[in-house]
Amino acid sequence: MTARAPLLHLDQRTVRKARKLAERAAAPVVELARTHTTTSVERAVLRLAGLTGADAEGIPWVNRLVDAVAADVGLEHGVALPVFDALASGEHADLATLAQKAAAGGAQFRLPAGVGHQRARRLAQRAVGAGIGRIDRARKDRDVMLRRLGDPPKPWIYLIVATGDIYEDIPQAQAAARAGADIIAVIRSTGQSLLDYVPEGATREGFAGTYATQENFRLMRAALDEVSRELGRYVRLTNDASGLCMPEIATLAGLERLDMMLNDCMYGIIFRDINPRRTFIDQRFSRQIHARAGIVINTGEDNYLTTADAVDAAHTVVVSQLLNERFGLEAGLQDWQLGLGHAFEINPALPEQFRLELAQAQLVRELFPHAPLKYMPPTKHMTGNVFFGYLLDAFFNLAGVLTNQEIILVGMMTEGIVTPFLSDRDLALENVRYVRDACAGLAEDFVPARGGFIAQRAAQVLAESVELLERIADEGLFTAIADGTFGITKRPADGGRGLDGVVVRADGYYNPAGALLEQAGPVGRPA
């Protein structure tokens, strides 16, 4: 897809100003993330080091081990040193044995110093390095498959599968791929993001979604590899990182070669009532992993418009996108990995609704010309009238074509009713296909009048965004979140779940993954 000349004639100084303000607003939060760790970050380190499995109650060994370390020496120096110090003692065959013993009270941890410190550090680095090596290999495998099978042209068609049962999901995902999906998203069971551990194994009992587990990731990726080969095009897989286990899930995604991940700097705060500090710390580490894994993140601004009004709150979407961009770049992601989210959520009863949507979509397109935007279909105004819903989805598809969106979630006519039926997906793809083909070059004929309705609306939203960013840069992002700026949901900095998992890093804090990832720097775009 060749980028089109900009149509909105945005004031470029204002655009630059907005970016500068986002950087200023993000700075203290980045500093927070650099100086703190969380239980989930530490568990992710152990996962990279190769620790898997769970106890009889289903609690993963990484949780058991981190809890044991925390009890003995605290987490402020990270788990790596105490754990690899204990391993180095030779008393424990491997990480798994150590974890089991620790859980049973049969292992003691200390903070090694001197030679012990050096040795533990070396061991930790080697183990975690191996994990990162596996992520690198997964990335290479993806590159090879992309070269061999071919990468579908953008826009990519993104379809959700959500039966709750991985063994129903797999054939549905394969059917969706055969019907034209470029990306399969398996969404999670309603409860999972609040679990402070990642469940294990293949699962069949989710509600309105399937549990994100390493084994489910593996099964689905294998199924999609199979269908990719059959179809001669690489079918991407995505899942949700956001939640209490963001760093770990990001790690598992890297290991199992997922291709994209829902990962937002604020989604967990606003929509899952997860503690703000916890979230900002977790998201940084998880994005460092994504950066390394060559995973494209999808941010969640679309969600704001399900609670806030899409016209009144249009600028909050843009502000959040600028923040997500800033946090993402800082964590090492590159522009092509920033699937910033937005959505077609303006009330269809509003006069000029479609043009307002076009203004917003084109604004986002021009603000982030190199980001693969994730464009979400109408959800809030989808009712039980499936015929009208099907029509609204068509206009969403049309807006995507006219404004060159790149990751197109496919709207379902039953959005207002049930999680998608098999036939919904098929009908939805028929809808996408018609609009894409029948209007293939229509963007050529879409020329918003200079200073006309669309241009004016875009300029207004940009101006409101700058205004809001100024306030946030001055008063702080935590204050803004506490005030209900995003999704009109108030989340105080000390509220929500998971704050007890946040730990201030001590001076000697050591995280071999963090260290490796910080130094690595960007790895570049896939071939």
Partner: protein
Amino acid sequence: MTEDAPRHVRPYGDTTGDGMIQLSFTLPVAPGPHAEAAAAAFAAKMGLDPAMVVHAKGVGERFTFFVVYGRSPVILDLDEVKVVEREFPLLTAKEINLKIRSRLKRRMVVVGATVGTDAHTVGLDAILNVKGFAGEKGLESYRELRVVNLGAQVDARDLVERAVSERADALLVSQVVTQRDAHLQHVREVADALTTGWPARQRRPKLLVGGPRFDPASAAALGADRVFAKGTTPREVASYLVHELPAGGPARRSR
């Protein structure tokens, strides 16, 4: 169907056996809670359980339109499903011409028309005209077929009269308008006209009926020999025609 396909099936929403279906209909009831309850009651009487009335919209003051989703209790035994399978082999144009030649020793005559007040000719032409349908050439393109296309709005008796004079081997009748069962009525008129108007000693021509809304299983009830539904191609019709030729030697006509 593959070997391991199940014999008993239910509708599939997103899980095997969930039985989920969608329904829409209008009731002559003013919009409001009573109407919604009526819609739920209607769906329940159709067997849905649970039934979710997900959309209700007044149409004027005396009607309400509904969309309902729900679980149907019906379990279908696929082995009991009767399907009008093609009872004849699909032949190539060459084979068809050859068979007519060898069995009939003359060209086969087919007379086609859309009868009654129905003016739709596109379906009939798709079968008869050289241009054909779905990439297949129409019956006119077969060397051994003589096609008389009378077009549309033809009276049943006129059709039979013409068929008599053309010494037709087959009558091809198209019907597209189905409102108030117009198509059924018109086909029965042809069957009757054939019974009364066809010379007693002559072999009665085959009566082929076609159109998008016929039930493939209704031939007998209509007094026709075969019904062709939506999507029929010319070659299917030609293959059927030769299949119905008297098997042994040339069919001789009594005068």
